[in-house]
């Protein structure tokens, strides 16, 4: 009885090592199922960022450059949305999209589109908040100089976004980092369907619970590497974005 304890530890150590090796092998041998899951994650989150950014940055611009009644309220609603947990966002959309829900006719539940919608809802407040502060930090004279030199409002808007590009890049990266790693909304809205809505976080959460550790570790490594990369870029852009 007493001897079995260290033995079991060794077994676990051995199995951990072998699973990690198996994970690395999965990753580097180009295991198609694994890479498909990774591709789905990047596609869904990429589309969500692409769709969410233009309107979110426009809202950010309006908040930074215009005074209007309700502006402060809008800002505080947005900061509240920032801290709403992903599962709650998932649950809300789930109710809306479910068969009996008001948008049930769209038949979007358990599709990639539903996942994209959930991730848009999660990315939007981050993009607005960080975009707002990036544009707010941009010198007012940039807008005025552009306008007085004859730029149309659209061109002037593009100009100040160019001036604030590092801060805006940081906003995009932060939002992307948040949505690609979130599990709650993707699980509820996508349903973790293999080859279709199974993405990195849902695969880790569900497959690991079935004992598929190698895949979980491999995907976890992908998220870790991604987090490091995004963070390095974020640091880089935020450093450059500081007003001189």
């Amino acid at each position: 009885m007493l001897e079995s304890l260290p033995r079991r530890n060794i077994n676990q150590m051995e199995s951990l090592t072998t699973t990690t090796l198996a994970a690395l092998e999965l990753l580097f041998s180009g295991n198609p199922e694994l890479w498909e899951i990774i591709a789905i994650s990047f596609r869904v989150s990429g589309v969500a960022i692409l769709v969410a950014s233009p309107p979110a940055l426009l809202v950010a611009f309006i908040l930074a450059y215009y005074q209007f009644p309700g502006r402060r309220l809008l800002i505080s609603i947005n900061s509240t949305l920032l801290s709403v947990p992903a599962v709650v966002v998932g649950l809300t959309l789930f109710i809306l999209l479910s068969r009996q829900g008001p948008l049930g006719e769209w038949k979007l539940l358990f599709t990639q589109t539903a996942m994209v919608l959930g991730q848009i809802a999660l990315a939007f407040p981050i993009l607005v908040a960080m975009g707002h502060s990036a544009l707010q930090a941009c010198d007012r004279r940039a807008w005025e100089t552009a306008r007085t030199l004859g730029a149309t409002p659209i061109r002037a808007l593009i100009t100040i976004m160019r001036e604030a590009r590092f801060g805006l890049m940081a906003a995009l990266l932060a939002a992307f980092g948040r949505i690609i790693a979130e599990v709650g909304a993707s699980m509820m809205l996508g349903g973790n369907i293999l080859h279709y809505t199974r993405n990195i976080p849902t695969a880790i959460a569900l497959e690991s619970s079935k004992g598929e550790f190698a895949q979980g570790i491999a995907l976890g490594l992908v998220l870790l590497i991604l987090a490091f990369t995004l963070n390095a870029f974020l640091q880089h852009f935020q450093g450059k974005g500081q007003p001189a």
């Binding site: 940039a142 100089t145 007085t148």
Partner: protein, 237 residues
């Protein structure tokens, strides 16, 4: 210019909180003439220039277009079309001097035509050596020249200058003065806010002073004759 070579402004009013900064201000600018706008700190010089550039909304304004009263949107459009405002501290876009000049050129020109224009402007403001320098790193005087060259490329009929020589040394002040004289002989109407009329002895045709929201015309022949030994007067006279 709105009508012929004259630009008339009337009934210009603006308040901030409880302060009436501009109270029934009226004046006219003429092509090829320079008006000095003086006034104490906080008198409303910057506010007046920004309104004329269409960058700030007044409480009321009438500009003479011979078309009867216009709403602010139309006035703003007209002002933005004719007038160009130069900040006290010019803003440089992130990029080279060439990029900054190119910004002021209409999009319709071909690449070759644009380069030609840029070259002329670089020549005009003596910026050739700096054409590829990052504009944000230039000195105050150099930025001022880039900003004037940018304006020169736009050929505005009205140039609104906010303390263009504050924080410049003697040398840069002279160069700025030279460029402003070039604008003047091109027929640009200029309204120039400054604390010190002595900086522009040869340039000023008329002196307007803002005081307690009112704009007063000042006859300062005396002012210029007053101190012939003033360094700025001597060196440009």
């Amino acid at each position: 210019m709105t009508t012929a070579d004259q630009f008339n402004v009337q009934c210009l009013k603006k308040h901030f909180a409880k302060r009436q900064v501009l109270d029934e201000v009226a004046f006219s600018l003429q092509a090829g003439q320079t008006h000095l706008l003086s006034g104490d700190n906080g008198a409303g010089k910057t506010t007046l220039l920004r309104i004329l550039a269409g960058l700030e909304k007044p409480d009321s304004i009438q500009i003479d277009l011979g078309k009867g009263p216009l709403n602010w949107r139309h006035v703003k459009k007209t002002l933005q079309h004719h007038a160009l405002y130069l900040h006290q501290h010019p803003y440089m876009f992130d990029g080279t001097v060439t990029y900054n000049l190119d910004y002021a050129i209409g999009a319709k020109l071909t690449k070759r035509e644009r380069q030609l224009q840029i070259d002329k402007a670089l020549e005009w403001a003596d910026l050739r050596q700096l054409s590829h320098a990052p504009a944000k790193t230039l000195s105050g005087g150099e930025k001022q020249r880039v900003s004037l060259a940018r304006a020169w490329l736009k050929r505005p009929s009205i140039l609104l200058l906010d303390e263009p020589t504050s924080n410049l040394d003697q040398e840069s002040r002279h160069r700025t003065l030279g460029l402003l004289e070039a604008f003047k002989s091109d027929g640009t109407a200029m309204l120039l806010a400054s604390h010190d009329p002595m900086h522009f002895p040869s340039l000023i045709d008329q002196h307007l002073r803002l005081d307690q929201g009112k704009l007063i015309r000042i006859d300062d022949q005396k002012l210029f004759e007053f101190d012939q030994t003033h360094p700025n007067f001597r060196s440009t006279a």
